[in-house]
Amino acid sequence: MRLKFIEERIAKILMSLASLLVILFVVSILYTILKRGMPALNWDMATKIPEGGYYNGGGGGVLNAIMGSLFIVLGSTILGLLISIPVVFYMNVYLSKTSKLAYISRLAFDVMFGIPSIVYGAFAFSIMIYLGMRTSLGGGILVITLLVIPIFIRSMDEVAQHLPKDLLDASYSLGATKLETIKVVLLQIAPGIATATLLSVGRAIGDAAGVMFTAGFTDSIPTSLSAPAATLPLSVFFQLSSPSASVQDRAYASALILTIIVLIISVLGRLVTTYFSKNKI
């Protein structure tokens, strides 16, 4: 057999092994969560807030954390998009390919990307103390917004950097200003925006360290931006810390709920992405 066919075959085996390894990893995590969480999962878990003594085995559920997490995700996604889209548009339409400002900004966003969320949390916490703010839903949204902005910007930017020059020229030659061209740009990078949103929702909903100091934790559903808010990861953490095995099982059930929410958002996100990709040239 010729060498290149042997190479081909070995490469194929290695690639499928790597894929299998990843799948195995995911399956074993899911297995653990399902095995311990399924028995503890019941309707109360998803529809009730903790009753007195919940963390010692009392009744109730984690609706407080579910709602807190959803509010934080929603708030930070909207704020994050509102801040990131203008930045991406500015970097790719107004600044030239060789612009130093664009280069430095990209570098800065890469660094922001790598900063652990506990650092954002500590940073926001010190500002909140300075301002006399208490832990609150608003604080949590702010910190998670900081966390997702680099994800938004860098993943949208990756797509926007490949905007065809001809496309911008086509818009300009119809008499559009750069600002008026934003519609064309948004439609062209729409799939990138959808992917960026998916990535950042994943990070936002799963973060525990950032919200620990800033959103706090509470057994009730937040009714205003200044009320403290519980989050699912922290709820999992507190339940896992309990010495009682049945409460620990509920931690796995909460993790299962978190996973299901992420799954639903991902599937919806993919549908939206497909929808928005249809016009892309």
Partner: protein, 286 residues
């Protein structure tokens, strides 16, 4: 009120068509366009990108209602010249130019000239068709909306007129709201032409607009140019001499950033004055 009739949109009929419209349009201005001659004149244009002197002392005039072909070997500055006409070149890094370009007696390099006004007068057709990432319908209305046409009925009429003008109506009338990217390359190029015509330009700038197309689509576009020249001044950059031979009325031959010779197609092709032009036409270099 006169019955509205669809016909090939010429600038003259455009003005008529508009007269049925509600008052959000300035009729008098459009009436004025009817008899106006399109006029483009370049004097002593020099253009540099960084240190490179790309266009050297270019002076020329583009006749109205004619197809002007800019020919010359690749890299001689044809695309650069074309992009200077609507100042798309402005976005290039390290660009510098002097001299002047007069479009309808307005200096387009003048600081007071609104760049979008200049661009509106020039329909652009690029080498590869580049539909906007939206539906066929929205591709055509995008430009109209930029220039203030909001009336839904009017927009629908423009879409139909322009698609008919480029012979695309029958092919797409049942899927106007389908993405433009789903059309074949040849159809996309005709859509891009229709999109440009919808903003009522005076000039059509085409940069090797048929080079990415199959022979039948190319022929279609060429025929459209011949038909459209009665209403527009068409400036076509081409590096296929045959195309220039087929459709050019007026020819500009460029070499290394200079205009070597310009004149009526017959003269240039049958009786070139310059040695370089003769050599190029004989295929000594390309």
């Amino acid at each position: 009120m006169k019955e509205f009739q669809y016909k090939n949109p010429t600038r003259a009929t455009w003005a008529e068509d508009y007269s049925f419209l509600n008052n959000d349009l300035d009729n008098s201005k459009l009436e004025g366009d009817k008899n106006k001659k399109s006029n483009l004149k370049v004097t002593d244009l020099n253009l540099y990108i960084h240190q490179h002197h790309i266009l050297k002392n270019v002076s020329l005039e583009i006749p109205d209602n004619k197809i002007t072909c800019i020919i010359g070997p690749s890299g001689c500055g044809k695309s650069t010249l074309l992009k200077t006409f609507n100042r798309l070149i402005d976005d290039t890094e390290g660009i510098r130019y002097d001299g002047s370009i007069w479009v309808d007696d307005v200096d387009i390099f003048d600081k007071k000239t609104e760049i979008t006004d200049i661009r509106k007068k020039m329909g652009l057709l690029s080498q590869r068709p580049c539909p906007l990432p939206m539906s066929i319908y929205d591709n055509i209305t995008f430009g109209c909306k930029l220039h203030g046409i909001r009336n839904k009925k009017r927009l629908a009429e423009i879409v139909e007129e322009q698609l008919k003008a480029v012979g695309l109506w029958e092919e797409v009338k049942d899927r106007l709201h389908a993405p433009a990217s789903k059309l074949s390359i040849g159809q996309q190029q005709r859509l891009c032409l229709a999109r440009g015509l919808a903003v009522e330009p005076e000039f059509i700038l085409a940069d090797e607009a048929t080079s990415a197309l199959d022979p039948i689509s190319s022929k279609h576009i060429e025929e459209l140019f011949v038909e459209l020249k009665k209403d527009y001044a068409i400036i076509l950059v081409t590096h296929t001499l045959r195309q220039a031979l087929r459709i050019a009325d007026h020819v500009i031959f460029m070499y290394l950033g200079k205009v070597i010779e310009a004149g009526p197609a017959d003269e240039i092709f049958n009786n070139p004055k310059e040695e370089l032009t003769r050599k190029y036409l004989e295929g000594a270099f390309s």
